[in-house]
């Protein structure tokens, strides 16, 4: 008895074959795809190829406008096309796309001269993540004042969901601000270390330039260290570290949403007890 062909069992839509051709221009269109009345369908199938590739390049251009500004549109789109074909998105939420783009740029030979480019991409990715992050109310400056002076070193912070730290040995803050249109363009020395933090105290994303030692301090706080531990680490890394400035920055930028009080104290004025109501 003859065995039925594979095709008899196959699902009528060869999604794997249809999809593979969309990301690989060298690949032929799937056999089952035709034009009307048996016409050739290369150009018709190419509409999908074009839609997929171009719309994903456009998505990257929307996420990384400063990178595009720095390298020019033609260069950016060629680089993005390579990325899109090698690393298509897995999530239908395109505002999450491009997680690996900074690392990809780092390995992209034609961009090697622009050593700061991957850091700019990291910051732009962090910016969009912050833009969509959950709404939380940052801690009010006077909340810190409720902690007894001698216990301040024992507190910790719960960071805002939008908070991100982007370390850099390049002039990242100004590269970003100038190429996103937030600061006038001027010739700068790109080799001055300007690490930043990204926050979103209300709806608008803020990018704050960090002083020496602050990246270590914030990284330790975000990892759950107490203020005392984080400050000691920061000082060990940078003798110029200024705790007062660092704390003022955290509060002004809305980087934290809650104080983790040391045992036996409370970060808030005592809550009204039921009997008082």
């Amino acid at each position: 008895m003859p065995l039925p062909s594979d095709r008899a069992f196959a699902y009528p839509l060869d999604a794997a074959g249809f999809g593979a051709g969309l990301l690989d221009p060298a690949r032929a269109k799937p056999q089952s795809v035709t034009g009307a009345h048996g016409k050739a369908a290369e150009k018709c199938y190419n509409v999908y190829r074009n839609n997929v590739t171009v719309s994903l390049i456009d998505a990257l251009a929307d996420i990384y406008p400063a990178v595009q500004e720095l390298v020019g549109e033609r260069f950016f789109r060629a680089m993005a096309r390579d990325y899109v074909r090698a690393h298509p998105p897995s999530s239908p939420l395109l505002f999450r796309y491009g997680e690996g783009f900074a690392d990809f740029i780092e390995g992209f030979a034609p961009a090697r001269e622009l050593a700061y480019l991957p850091d700019v991409a990291r910051l732009e990715r962090a910016w969009l993540t912050a833009y969509h992050a959950a709404d939380r109310e940052p801690i009010a400056p006077d909340e810190l004042a409720s902690i007894p002076q001698d216990r301040v070193g024992e507190i910790g912070f719960e960071m805002h969901p939008a908070f991100a730290l982007v370390a850099s040995r390049f002039s990242l803050f100004r590269l970003f601000m100038m190429n996103r249109g937030f600061m006038p363009l001027e010739r700068i020395d790109a080799s001055l270390a300007e690490p930043v933090m990204v926050t979103r105290p209300q709806a608008d994303v803020a990018v704050t330039r960090l002083a020496p030692g602050e990246p270590v301090f914030l990284a330790r706080l975000a990892a759950g260290d107490t203020l005392g531990q984080a400050a000691a680490e920061a000082l060990a890394a940078e003798t110029a570290f200024d705790l007062g400035h660092a704390l003022a920055s955290v509060l002004a930028a809305g980087a934290a949403v809650a104080i983790r009080a040391p045992a036996g104290t409370t970060a808030h004025p005592p809550a009204t007890s039921p009997e008082d109501r």
Binding site: L13, L23, K39, K43, C44, N50, S55, S91, H132
Partner: protein
């Protein structure tokens, strides 16, 4: 330039805080959920201030669900704001209902949360696929119409309708290729889906014109075969034109320009046959100034008003013109 209607759903560029206002009451009053048989438009953040300032006769706004699947920030503040003034239509573009694999459960949960939060008057998705084997292609890809794909599509629609707790409207696609293994017409396929899942249909008249031109059949004939009684919403949009392998017109569903005259004529014929139906003018890239888009919606509203005049009602259910 992209020709994909899905092109832009990453981030609205403009900060919109000033248009939204700084204060929000705890439980803002909202426009009713139900959408009347009037014209609406695709909502773009760039138009926010202008829409609030002068909505004209625009009766509802439609948004791509995926743009509001982030956790917080401007997108939700903006949507809450427009929801106060307008009923909303929630239009999904990435559910991949036409794909062979199971629907993405995370995506279903996000979609259900949006339906719960914003109480849209209409909820719709596409007869198309966009994800396979963990790759999201960001386009509305076609499928062959066969009894086997029909089973799969119906399973997916059942799953989606269960997840969101209400029926959806399914949109007919604009397509650029055909499949040599297809055994059913698109209209028979849609009719069977409606019968099996209880979903309604979103009739995209531009898609009808685009597909009919690309595949060499009559758009009027297609509409005669279409289950018009189940249409809960109509889409209108602009298309661009290329040429195919043999030099014939190849239309692209580009959503980047005004609705074309032949599409208005088809729409007029549909509305004369069905009576007024909520109608959306889509415009997703190369956005015009607000008055241009508003004028497109007002043109649709004139056709809808004419159809609600008593002397026109005798023509219903006779599409041929």
């Amino acid at each position: 330039m992209t020709d994909s209607p899905l092109a832009r759903h990453v981030a609205p560029a403009a900060a919109t805080a000033s248009a939204i206002g700084k204060t929000r009451s705890a439980a803002p009053a909202r426009a009713p959920a139900a959408i009347a048989a009037a014209a609406g438009v695709s909502f773009k953040h760039d138009h926010l201030a202008a829409i609030l300032d002068d909505p004209g006769t625009v009766g509802f706004l439609e948004v791509h669900a995926e743009n509001y699947m982030g956790d917080g920030g401007h997108p939700h503040r903006t949507l809450e704001r427009v929801r106060r003034d307008f009923p909303l239509s929630l239009h999904g573009v990435c559910m991949s209902i036409g794909g062979p694999g199971p629907l993405n459960e995370d995506h279903l949960a996000r979609f259900a949360a949006l339906v719960e939060r914003y109480q849209p008057g209409l909820v719709s998705e596409h007869l198309a696929w966009s994800t396979h084997d963990d790759v999201f292609f960001n386009d509305l890809l076609p499928l062959p119409y066969t009894p086997q794909t029909l089973d799969r599509v119906c399973e997916h629609i059942d799953r989606m309708q269960t997840a969101i707790g209400r029926p959806i409207l399914l949109e007919n696609p604009a397509t650029y290729v055909l499949f040599d293994n297809a055994t059913m017409s698109e209209t028979d396929f849609l009719r069977a889906i409606v019968a099996r899942t209880g979903c309604g249909l979103l009739l995209d008249v531009n898609n009808v014109f685009v597909s009919a031109t690309n595949h060499g059949y009559s758009a009027r004939q297609y509409l005669d075969d279409f289950p018009l009684d189940h249409v809960g919403e109509i889409h209108l949009a602009g298309h661009s034109e290329q040429t195919d392998d043999e030099g014939d017109p190849l239309l692209i569903d580009s959503h980047d320009r005004p609705v074309a005259d032949p599409v208005w004529a088809l729409y007029d014929a549909v509305i004369a046959a069905t009576g007024p139906i909520p109608t959306l003018v889509e415009w997703d890239s190369d956005l015009p100034e607000w008055p241009v888009l508003r004028a497109q919606a007002e043109a649709a509203n004139r056709i809808l008003s004419a159809a609600s005049q008593p002397h026109r009602q005798g023509h219903r259910h006779a599409l041929a013109v």
